[in-house]
């Protein structure tokens, strides 16, 4: 019993680090641009398919595929920003909602056309197998994915705090007019933010493909998980985002172990609603 719980918690922590990474993409777009991207989960889905395509064409390990898919998603995010998002910024909120939900449906339909409804998974992995630590089994691919996620989050924190572009993003988040008075062109800053948010999903998609399969409707799960992590963390705290990702990962993993694998999101929704009810700003949020 205790062993099962501990095993569930370990698996949950490793998944949680990736969830934190996925939520980071949503968080910077929402926190800096105040744009609610309902298609975020489907960006993850699209990324997973691209990882599948790159991985099977070049016989690469899934973990390496972001080297190609991340620049692709960066460009995709950049184009999506200028074609769609930029035009919704001065509109009513419902316009933005319609556009991002529409994008979600578009991506899902495209995935169905290109890859059909059957799930896809990558064959090869150099990092297969388990590590045994104190009687617990740890999937090597998950461990490596979790470590890469945490390193990337730390790297983005450095970027936001120490570079001119990162500082401009934080300034735009705090006060857009004041930022433009400092010389910030918000179209460029927002396009960069959205492109980074998109390329984060490419990294997450590659990591997920190292131990999961993908299907055209899988984006819903990642979208909802990201919102749960974000609601739990609140805006503006990256360590908070990691902790929230891990809580969500652990709750999901324990629900699977003790309740029913088909209702894996049930426990996540329960805390999501509980947090919205008790602490609408999240556990670590300042806004």
């Amino acid at each position: 019993m205790i062993h099962t719980v501990s095993q569930g918690i370990i698996t949950g922590i490793l998944m949680g680090a990736i969830y934190a990474l996925i939520a980071l993409g949503l968080s910077i777009v929402f926190g800096i641009m105040n744009v609610t991207n309902f298609a975020h989960g489907d960006f993850v889905m699209l990324s997973m398919y691209l990882s599948y395509a790159v991985g099977s064409a070049l016989a690469w390990d899934a973990v390496a595929t972001p080297l190609i898919t991340a620049p692709l998603l960066f460009i995709f995010g950049f184009i999506t920003y200028y074609l769609l998002i930029d035009r919704t910024l001065r509109q009513m909120y419902v316009v933005q909602l319609a556009v991002t939900v529409g994008l979600q449906i578009l991506l899902r339909s495209l995935a169905l056309i290109v890859w059909q409804a059957q799930p896809r998974a990558l064959q090869y992995s150099i990092i297969q197998g388990n590590i045994q630590i104190a009687g617990f089994e740890i999937l090597t691919s998950r461990l490596i994915s979790a470590i890469i996620s945490l390193i990337f989050i730390a790297g983005l924190a450095y970027f936001l705090n120490k570079t001119w572009a990162g500082r401009a993003m934080r300034a735009a988040s705090d006060d857009l007019d004041a930022a433009s008075l400092m010389g910030v062109n918000y179209h460029k800053t927002y396009a960069l933010t959205f492109a980074i948010g998109s390329s984060i999903t490419a990294l997450a998609g590659g990591l997920l493909m190292s131990f999961q399969q993908t299907d055209p409707v899988g984006g819903v799960r990642f979208g909802l998980l990201s919102w749960a992590v974000l609601a739990l963390a609140g805006l503006g705290s990256l360590p908070g985002l990691i902790v929230a990702g891990i809580i969500v990962g652990v709750v999901e993993s324990l629900t699977v172990s003790f309740f029913d694998p088909r209702s894996r999101l049930l426990g996540v929704y329960a805390i999501f609603i509980l947090v919205l009810w008790l602490r609408p700003r999240g556990l670590f949020g300042r806004r």
């Binding site: 001119w164 500082r167 401009a168 934080r170 300034a171 988040s173 705090d174 006060d175 007019d177 004041a178 930022a179 433009s180 008075l181 400092m182 010389g183 910030v184 062109n185 918000y186 503006g236 300042r286 806004r287």
Partner: protein
Amino acid sequence: MLEIKNLNSGYAKVSVLRNVTFHVNQDETVAIIGPNGAGKSTLLKTISGLVRAQSGDITFENNNILGLSPDLVVRRGLAYVPEGGRIFPNMTVLDNLLMGAYSNPGILKSGILEEIFTLFPILKNRSEKFARTLSGGERQMLAIGRGLVSRPKLIMLDEPSLGVAPKLIDEIYEKIHALKRFGLTVLLVEQNTGYALELADRGYVIENGQIVMEGAATDLSTSEHIKKFYLGL
């Protein structure tokens, strides 16, 4: 240096400024005074590009800047310190100042931050603190400091006494006075008429979106209209 001709501006269908014409010469300090809602802030926002003008001319150093977005206006050397300071609350004091150099990061090598810390020593002591923790007076100093980092040729100050404890207003105005030593041209908008006219070389009075009086600051402060309606004498 800055010339405004027949400027009409406002929001959506509401016209705020009507045929405003005035100018600021190099090295001059000009005050624009007037009651709440007269259009003072709208005027500065229009010059800085935050509000789009409906018609008229705005030229800065003989270049037309009407219709430029704010990030391009500041690159011309025209800084705007908005009403209430509008500092970045969730950034440190130092990061706020660094944002002032965003349009020209190379300026930091000129020792501008040291100059600003000399002018506002309090900012140096607080440099690692989040700006949201500052008092009203400190926020205003940070906003002015941030506006100075890019070494603008002209700085526009919007109600620098607003939200500042009365005993600190004197201090803020001493600092603005010191800006003249920076070789700065200052355009000041202020409800606090006494302070503004004491500091300025020339002044304009704006009422209902129109310039109704202009002249040397000393003349304005002795005019019956100003005494009666603005200075309460």
